[in-house]
């Protein structure tokens, strides 16, 4: 129990400033002044930064998000087959969308990286569409039904990311490669088959097995 002396009187909490007696983790998040030089933020910090962009239109928070995500989005788009200049341009579109859509980010539903992945994936689909015909309109975005998150789902989002990461690390290198290729390459199955020089059926069954292992890990099965 924490005892504070306030004006000579013992009390269990500091009545003048209750925050002083809260545990350290409850301290308000302090934005780095030089966001571009700050060390890599963790998942919770990224979610807080998106919240600052949504609620405060905070460009310092946005700079930190840009520094973290833009080079990863570009790497993703390069793997999806976009050339250097295209990848650069679409990355900028993704980062602009991150600024505009920040208010739709729901930390109880998805981790920051999951949310950015979905935006980048949609930009990739949109890019493929524009390649086919420049005049075609954009695919409309569906607003998802907003099931108000319970405390339980909030914990699950954070836990799920950690579990997924552990489960991915636990896969064999071949399976890791296959899971990665199925998310990143343009024509997953055939591309994987030719990259790894495997029959298509083998690739499909390895994808199934890899995903089943991930799911089992998430559901806490052996």
């Amino acid at each position: 129990m924490i005892h504070n002396v306030v004006n000579g009187v013992y009390s269990h909490v500091n009545v003048l400033d209750p925050t002083l007696s809260r545990p350290a983790r409850a301290r308000p998040h302090v934005l780095p002044v030089t966001a571009l030089d700050a060390p890599s933020p963790d998942a919770a910090a990224l979610a807080v930064l998106i919240g600052h962009v949504a609620n405060l239109r905070d460009r310092t928070a946005y700079a930190a998000l840009f520094k973290y995500f833009a080079p990863r989005v570009k790497a993703y788009l390069r793997r999806a087959g976009l050339e250097g200049a295209e990848a650069e341009e679409v990355t900028q579109d993704v980062m602009l969308a991150l600024w505009r859509k920040a208010e739709h980010f729901n930390p109880a539903r998805a981790a920051a990286a999951t949310w950015v992945f979905a935006i980048a994936r949609n930009a990739r689909i949109d890019h493929a569409r524009r390649r086919r015909g420049a005049s075609l309109p954009a695919m409309p975005e569906l607003e998802e039904p907003d099931h108000s998150p319970s405390a339980e789902t909030q914990t699950l989002t954070a836990e799920r990311e950690a579990q997924l990461r552990a489960a991915l690390r636990a896969l064999s290198p071949e399976q890791q490669q296959i899971v990665q290729l199925s998310f990143f390459s343009e024509t997953p199955h055939t591309a994987i088959a030719s990259t790894l020089n495997l029959p298509l059926g083998t690739v499909k069954s390895r994808i199934r097995l890899g995903l089943a292992r991930l799911r089992a890990a998430l559901e806490g099965e052996p």
Binding site: R59, A138, R160, E161, L164, R165, V179
Partner: protein
């Protein structure tokens, strides 16, 4: 109670963004009705997020951040005008899934006894072969196979074929290896279907004297 779900590969392709736009539309309609698949989709997207997070960063061109900063205050492109949707005189209890909101929907056309279809055109992917299909109670759809994967989401009523019974919210997935002849349940059936590679009708060459 939803009994028929899309295959793991189709869900994966949807999460990865590599599913054809027509199939993605039908899958979106399924996700709106199926909490089980929504959870699976969330898991797959979270996997995509972890993979993105773990990628070796590729530096952007000098000035990229300044270029984006300069665009932050630009107005976003306004959404396109709502497309034309014919009045299909749907059963009163039925609301079309909101996944169809951006698509144009044609009037019913007769293609056989008790079977009508309406063309669903996606302005963002006009080459896709998507349709609403309405089959009267007990009527058969023509025996057919497919040039590729067919996804069929039941919106109202139901149908059955050799793979089982499909009710509201169920999705049927068949590929080029399957030849089937769905029969509507007694109340009839309304489905949203996306086809790849078109239909193959085994009786057509015979009909044409082939």
């Amino acid at each position: 109670m939803i009994r028929h779900h899309p295959s793991a590969g189709t869900l994966l392709a949807h999460a990865a963004g590599t599913l054809a736009p027509g199939h993605a539309l039908v899958l979106a309609a399924h996700l709106q009705s199926c909490a089980h698949c929504r959870a699976e989709q969330a898991r797959l997207e979270a996997t995509g997020g972890v993979l993105l997070d773990d990628l070796a960063p590729e530096p952007l061109a000098a000035g990229a951040f300044a270029a984006v900063l300069a665009r932050l205050d630009e107005p976003a492109t306004p959404p396109p005008a709502p497309p034309r949707q014919a009045d299909l005189h749907l059963p009163p209890a039925l609301r079309l899934p909101s996944a169809l909101r951006g698509a144009s929907i044609g009037r019913w056309l007769w293609i056989g006894p008790g079977v009508r279809y309406s063309t669903v055109r996606l302005p963002w992917a006009p080459e896709e072969n998507v349709m609403l299909l309405r089959v009267a109670g007990g009527r058969r759809v023509l025996r057919h196979s497919h040039g590729g994967v067919e996804l069929t989401q039941v919106l109202w009523g139901g149908f059955y074929d050799h793979t089982g019974h499909y009710g509201p919210g169920d999705i049927g997935e068949t590929d080029e290896s399957v030849e089937h002849q769905p029969v509507a349940g007694p109340e009839g059936c309304l489905c949203l279907a996306a086809l790849a590679g078109g239909l193959r009708l085994p009786w057509l060459p015979r009909l044409l004297g082939g």
